[in-house]
Symmetry: none
Subunit: 206 residues, 4 copies
């Protein structure tokens, strides 16, 4: 890749990061290109040299971040074996991601709650992300069913329950409630889900 191209992509990333912060505060409609430009510290017109428009900027941002998140999650799950290990893989990955992407958390959490209906320029794409996310967690649940560890068999609902609890706890953490580290906070969700959704195994002291 040429030096020029390198620099260009670097700036592109800088813009995307700044845009993430900007949109995180005001949402798609509540954030103007001026706002983004201010965060990047450049003129609004400059943004158009890197992205076709506000819509594309936001969409790219969402696509990049979610793709990053989902691919990492998929790898983490694939790298684990068994239901419980899969669960941990998910939660660890989420925690790590959350710590590094605070600004983006609100956005992705919202995506899971209705695809940010009405707030995003391309709700369909967000729906795709939602389904992909759900699908990955469902694979974990399927393991639980195969291992006869889960009481319930509707993987969609099980996944929604786990995700909802996780996101909600994460939000509490963001908010300053609970322990200062996200891992401890999320652990509660893990315990509740594990104990609550599984059948006690022989000899296991729960």
């Amino acid at each position: 890749m040429s030096l020029r191209q390198r620099r260009r992509e670097h700036v592109e990333q800088l813009i995307l990061e700044a845009a993430t912060r900007a949109f995180s505060a005001g949402g798609y409609h509540g954030t103007s290109m001026e706002d983004v430009a201010r965060e990047v510290d450049c003129a609004a017109a400059t943004l158009y040299g890197y992205f076709k428009g506000k819509g594309e900027l936001f969409t790219r941002l969402m696509a990049d971040k979610t793709a990053d998140y989902l691919s990492g999650l998929a790898a983490a799950i694939d790298g684990s074996e068994g239901f419980e290990a899969g669960l941990d893989a998910y939660l660890d990955h989420w925690a790590a991601y959350a710590r590094k992407n605070e600004a983006f958390l609100r956005i992705i959490i919202e995506v899971m709650v209705g695809g940010g209906a009405g707030h995003n320029p391309e709700p369909e794409q967000m729906e795709v992300v939602r389904q992909a996310y759900l699908g990955l967690i469902q694979r974990i649940m399927q393991r639980g069913i195969d291992e006869e560890a889960l009481r319930e068999e509707n993987t969609t609902l099980l996944s929604e329950a786990l995700i909802g609890m996780t996101h909600s706890l994460t939000f509490a953490w963001l908010h300053g409630d609970g322990p200062p580290d996200i891992e401890s906070t999320i652990t509660l969700g893990r315990h509740i889900f594990l104990r609550g959704a599984t059948t006690p195994r022989d000899g296991a002291i729960r």
Copy 2:
């Protein structure tokens, strides 16, 4: 109350209902006063005869709906005794409310996820609602602690976990996943939480 005033308040309610539907689709920023007026079937200017402006209309809407929800919830909880009954009171009330206020559900769910950061004109007020909601659920959790039924003692986190799971499942139901009736859907959350967050009592068949 004079007849005139009665009529006025009636219209006010009609507008609020219509506005709820309108805002539900597009969010605060994505919905214009024209949109609201179309739903009400009146001219946009008319709305200003009843509300100071878009902000107030939305704020009133949120305040009314949430006050309605919260007061009902408070009454339900107060009308119950003990931890488990309190839990059921919450879930029953939520289910009933959800069924009757589909249009408003997204909005309230979003409120719990960051106060609909950036999407609402008065995030502070939404934060108040969030805290009030949380506080009510925390009262239930406190019962559980008093009864020594709960393993965990951080009522905030416990409440967030329960609420997150409940809302997420509700959204799945809205989405058409899971059983067609919301009660069955939510029941899963109830089971998980009860089994997951409590200590087994003697003689209890779990």
Copy 3:
């Protein structure tokens, strides 16, 4: 038609007139909605209450004026009999129209010269107008051919020649060259065309 509607259409006409003047000075691209609004003496936003946008405003203007012109021309030609009378009908109609629509003249003249290629938002529509105009004049030429008065039989070229000469002379008149009244100016074109394109009739002293 309701009173409201009447007023509305009246304002619409006022805007169209003002817009005609504005666009006549600067062309489509060289005239901003601000410019039009200034001519109308209203805010630019007001224009959008009457027309969807700049494109529609211009298009409507062109459509209205040209339809007016063409229908009048068609009637005039139909009301005449024979080649020479048809020619006079055309020239009289043009002269009358030119005197009353100076601001619009440049625009229609340009339309005949390439459809104002690149200057108009909807060149196709302008091409239609051009063809319609040409078609009407061709009908006159056809009479000349039927009467065996014309030497040439390509009605398209004959029409273009006549129209070009007429428009050009009109422009000279607009410019202040030649006689102060348009009729005298145009008469020159009439003479040239009649003598130049026809065969001498028996006994006619030309």
Copy 4:
């Protein structure tokens, strides 16, 4: 002239040619520096190394082309003797020019119709061109008057009539109407004008 300067002027010419094509399609306002640069196959910034700006580029283009046209026309007329020969000199020159400069034709034709009012950055200059063009044709007409061949004595109007007819026929030719060669097309105008504007000479076979 230094080698460097030679190269510079060469590039200048290349740019002017490309710009002619570019502007021909979209007019002054409808053509961006990007468009011109694309046609030249260089960066937009490069153009500023050769021309002060868009305005100058367009102005130079018009000046060069029209100067070329006018000087050629003047030479052709001066090289002819008598009214009819002058007329032919004009028409031949025009036809030759038209064939070689199709891209520029629209522009010059528009100049004659109101200086391309509003479409050009420097209408005054275009007016000068118009007058110069007109002046040359008037010299031909003056010959006709001197020879007592013309019936009319207003050389301005005579010239406008001839020019208008010629341009209009040329446009028809551009449009694909009439004979495929421009000479035949224009000949019609010649005949009409000669027969129409002159007095029959003794013994002349018309």
